[in-house]
């Protein structure tokens, strides 16, 4: 791996000592300035103190003294540490030995750099754990003081990660410590002690199944996978007992989740491995059955056994589990979906490699570009014949996934597993999209094929996939396609057009096309489609549906409309517009006040929307300007609902604008979250539950309410702190008076009530529609609605459970249909687990 630009500081073009200028994939790198960004930024931190210039600017550009020389050495040391063990080569053993000699010698002089680099290597290059644990072991064997420093530092980093709930780092570090036993740097009993910290909540064997315990057991099993070999040798009874304890928990957890399909991605097969812990336990047991041999990855420590035998073992302070983390702050391990066939006798190796891929995805989330490059490095450390690499063979199409593990497929499977993870992924969907884009940019032909295979494989199971997952895949695919010249083989899905409009495939293809249109424009998308797709794309470009031009109207309505339109167009004030409405409608003696008010409301909203129909900014301007009038007109829940419905009707031909406008009307408090819920679950939408747009709006709304609660909680905390500080301080502070605690409390209480209302009313609507014969237009329509119901329950399970008793007594009663009540039971279990 060429990290020289990053860590080595600027040897590029400046006499790199015969270093070939190749990229991460061994290809010649063209030296163009624009291609150097961003990987070739000068190392930060590799240099001590404010050395700001480009690394290359040394010779002749300033005093060449001991400082520059020290920097040179340090960047070279860093570079060596980062690069060691990139590949499983015959020289790796010698390289490690040589590096440990250099580091042992230089560690005192350049300690900060060496330690810092080593620390980050363990955290950021998780697939090289065998290399770095061996290096640590060699350092320790050569000089136990240096060894002690390294071990103590990594342990302190582990404690910090644990306190923060940085589970990705905790997992990676525990694996590092597991292997330190193999290098004799820590005793088997020390590792057992560390594991026992995680197992403490399970002690007694009757542990409650919970998010935190799932997370702890996942880490313990992941560690045992790598620790088993040395523990078997030095502490077999202890190993057996810990494994037993973990297994007991896994069984209890599996029993609770028995038949719970609320978070299952595919419903075609018995959910294999959808219980991630049970699957991991199977893997660990298989490894145990093979004398605890993990043979997927090169394990250099086995070569230094005699050297390690002399090493000193270090004691470590006890670990502490975090005490104040919310249930949501715990790591939910992702199951690895099987999307392409793979040889079943290779399940353990596959797990080990996918586990490394997953850890790399997690640890390098801050830089998807380098993450992509690193992912493509992982297989370099594999033992011979463990997996095939399409990007490394001459005829990638000959690689057969059924007879060998194929690295690129395994990697793509992990990526899609993360994307489709339920109840929610670790990161935003867009991470997995832009990471896939980077991967394909690096290997345009092969990864284009790999991703296409993956998408095809998922779409082949489209009737069985969870509704939310299908939505995520559609979002992913639209952005992905739009990044590669809108090229896609649409002929494969031609049959979708002839399927019913609410069949999963038809809907998936259509929604993806709609997303593509949002990202570009209708003609662009239409131009790339076969003729058979005409039914799947709108006939007209997205446009508004202004009522007072498209409908025949009577004379007096036209008069108002013309007057209001003229007023708004000539930048008339809110008062003027209101005056016009008043002037006209007051003359309409044949209708009552309510009706007049309703007509005026509709007239104003239509015209404000028209005024703002050009762009998003125009829309914000129009709503902002007429906010007082809109708020005045929205003086009751019914009035607000009318505003929302007029908006829907106005933007009937433009779902994106519909969603954005509703969102902003809520922000400007013209309508309430409750209004949006009532509008979405309107009976008029029966038969359209398959459309993605309603659910986009539902999420926007519920998330907004939740966000407001969180923000108010933060404000309350700040207010309380400020108040306490004031109380402690005798002299009245000159600082700004903080918000009054009572005021924030009152607002928060109101907001919490609103949140409650939103959750309960949404659940009530779902239950009503799903339990009545007229809530959906047919089986397919109902399946979509039910899928969205499950999505709602699991996404907002915390809020749902906070209102469990209300929901139980008034919503999910005996009158509710069986599958509705079942889903509620499932979310209860999911929240407990």
């Amino acid at each position: 791996m060429d990290f020289s630009g990053r860590v080595g500081g600027g040897r590029r073009g400046g006499g790199g000592g015969g270093h070939r200028n190749v990229d991460e994939f061994g290809r010649e790198r063209r030296d163009r300035p624009h291609q150097r960004k961003p990987y070739d930024r000068p190392a930060r931190g590799g240099h001590r103190g404010g050395h700001g210039g480009r690394g290359g600017a040394h010779a002749g550009m300033g005093p060449v003294g001991p400082i520059d020389e020290a920097q040179e050495i340090e960047s070279r040391l860093s570079s060596l540490i980062v690069k060691v063990g990139d590949k499983n080569t015959p020289t790796l053993q010698n390289n490690l030995e040589a590096l440990s000699v250099v580091l042992e010698k230089d560690c005192v002089k350049h300690e900060l750099t060496v330690m810092r680099t080593f620390r980050q290597c363990v955290l950021e290059l998780p697939w090289k754990v065998t290399v770095y644990s061996t290096l640590a072991g060699l350092l320790n064997a050569k000089n136990s003081e240096t060894g002690e420093k390294v071990v103590a530092l990594m342990h302190a980093v582990l404690r910090g990660s644990l306190a923060k709930g940085d589970w990705g780092s905790v997992k990676v570090l525990m694996r590092f410590f597991a292997l330190l036993v193999s290098t004799n740097s820590i005793a088997a009993s020390t590792l057992i002690g560390m594991l026992d910290t995680f197992l403490a909540p399970l002690a007694g064997g009757s542990a409650k199944v919970s998010a935190s315990n799932n997370c702890y057991v996942f880490i313990v099993l992941s560690t045992l996978l790598w620790a088993g070999r040395s523990l078997k040798e030095h502490a077999p009874a202890e190993l057996e007992q810990r494994l037993e304890l973990a297994a007991k928990y896994v069984q209890a957890q599996a029993e609770i989740n028995q038949g719970n399909t609320l978070s299952t991605v595919f419903h075609d097969t018995p959910p294999k491995g959808s219980n991630t812990l049970a699957h991991l336990l199977d893997v660990v047991r298989a490894v145990a059955g093979n004398d605890w041999k993990v043979d997927a990855i090169y394990a250099p420590f086995e070569l230094f056994a005699s050297e390690f035998a002399q090493a000193k073992q270090h004691e470590l302070p006890a670990l502490e589990l975090p005490t104040e983390l919310a249930a949501t702050a715990f790591y939910t391990p992702s199951e690895f979906l099987q999307l392409v066939p793979s040889p079943s006798d290779q399940a353990v190796r596959k797990y080990v490699l996918q586990d490394f891929i997953a850890d790399t995805l997690t640890q390098l989330e801050g830089n998807r570009k380098d993450c992509g490059k690193c992912l493509m490095q992982i297989h370099n450390l594999c033992n011979e014949d463990v997996c095939s690499v399409m990007t490394a063979v001459q005829h990638p199409e000959d690689v057969d996934p059924e007879s060998t593990l194929v690295f690129e497929y395994m990697m793509a499977e992990v990526l899609f597993s993360f994307l489709l993870q339920l109840p929610e992924g670790l990161y935003r969907e867009m991470y997995y999209t832009s990471l896939a884009i980077e991967l394909r940019k690096a290997e345009p032909v092969i990864l284009a094929n790999v991703f296409e295979t993956m998408v095809e494989s998922i779409v082949a199971r489209v009737q069985f996939i969870d509704v939310e997952c299908l939505n995520r895949l559609s979002n992913w695919l639209a952005v992905y396609i739009s990044n590669f010249g809108f090229q896609w083989d649409w002929t494969k899905w031609e049959s979708a057009a002839s399927e019913p409009v609410d069949s999963p495939k038809h809907r998936f293809v259509q929604e993806t096309l709609l997303k593509l249109i949002r990202l570009s424009y209708l003609d662009r998308v239409r131009a790339m489609l076969p003729d058979s797709y005409s039914a799947l794309v709108p006939a007209k470009a997205p446009a508004h549906n202004f009522k007072f031009t498209v409908q025949a109207m009577d004379e007096r309505t036209r008069e108002v409309s013309v007057a209001v339109g003229r007023c708004l167009k000539s930048k008339g004030s809110v008062e003027q517009a209101l005056a016009i409405l008043q002037e006209h409608y007051s003359k309409w003696a044949d209708i009552d006040d309510d009706r007049r008010q309703s007509l005026a409301r509709e007239m104003l909203v239509e015209h404000v929307l028209l005024l703002g129909s050009k762009t998003f900014s125009h829309m914000l301007n129009a709503i902002e300007k007429f906010m007082p009038a809109l708020q005045k007109f929205g003086d009751s829940p019914e009035a607000k609902l009318q505003i929302a419905r007029v908006t829907e009707d106005f933007w009937l031909g433009n779902p994106q604008f519909f969603a954005i406008t509703i969102d902003k009307l809520v922000n400007y408090r013209v309508i309430d979250p409750a209004t949006v819920i009532a509008m979405l679950f309107d009976d008029g939408h029966v038969g359209s539950w398959s459309k993605f747009q309603y659910w986009e709006i539902l999420h926007n709304t519920v998330k907004k309410v939740n966000m407001r609660v969180v923000q108010l909680q933060g404000r309350l905390e700040a207010a309380v702190t400020a108040a306490n500080a004031m109380a402690d301080d005798d002299t009245p502070a000159e600082t700004q008076p903080a918000e009054s605690v009572e005021h924030v409390e009152a607002t928060l209480a109101q907001m919490v009530q609103e949140q409650r209302d939103v959750v309960v009313s949404t659940a009530r609507h779902f239950a009503r529609l799903l339990s009545s014969g007229s809530g959906a237009s047919g089986e397919l329509d109902r399946a979509w609605l039910h899928g969205r119901f499950k999505e709602f329950l699991r996404t907002y399970r915390i809020q749902v459970m906070e209102n469990a008793s209300t929901l139980e007594s008034s919503v999910f009663t005996a009158e509710a249909s069986g599958d509705v009540r079942q889903a509620f039971e499932d979310v209860r279990k999911l929240s407990a687990a």
Binding site: F3, R6, V7, P38, Y39, R41, R44, G45, G46, V82, E111, L112, M115, R116, R119, Q120, C121, E124, L125, E148, K149, V151, A152, L153, H155, A156, V157, G160, E315, L316, P317, E365, G366, N367, R368, K369, D370, C374, R428, E429, M430, Y431, T433, S434, I437, V479, S482, N483, G485, K515, R518, L519, Y521, T615, F616, S617, Q656, I660, D663, N700
Partner: protein
Amino acid sequence: MAPATLFDDSLLTDTFTIVPRLDRPSTYKDHQYQGSTEQWSTDLARTTTLYVGNLSFYTTEEQLYEIFSKAGEIKRIIMGLSRNDKTPCGFCFVEYYTHENALECMKYVNGTKLDDRIVRTDLDPGFKEGRQFGRGRSGGQVRDEYRQEYDEGRGGWGHMRAKQEEDRRIQQEENYEAIASVPAGAELEINGRLGDKHGDM
């Protein structure tokens, strides 16, 4: 028990990474920013705004909304306009509600394509009135003043180049306008074997 003094305390607090994070400020700087360099950094450390560059002149706010909302809810979009004709000139500001969303945008959206162009984003201290206009001499962005390549999405040639091209066109036009009729060519009597003799085929 390993005493805490075994290694330098800074090793537990420094933010050094081998792989540079994408959500850190780049070398981007607004040349008309009024504050100090320190102020610039403090502003960026809590900003919710991004400067977005390399857009096509034809990209709409709704397209921007679609891709940028992948990183969080958008508060507003300010389209960059040509000072003279008030049409989009290839940049904008996107403002989120939270700083975290702006960082996620740097990580996940920066460098992806919109309208077949690579979108470039940078953390920005925040929109100020006047910044929506191009600063080039011709009203658009400075980069379009000097651009030598033809770029269909950004109005064709750069302004200087466009001017040169226009001058050339006008000169050509004037040249040819002077020719009132197509010349017939001189008739010469060279036994009609001119082509053969010169062999210029």
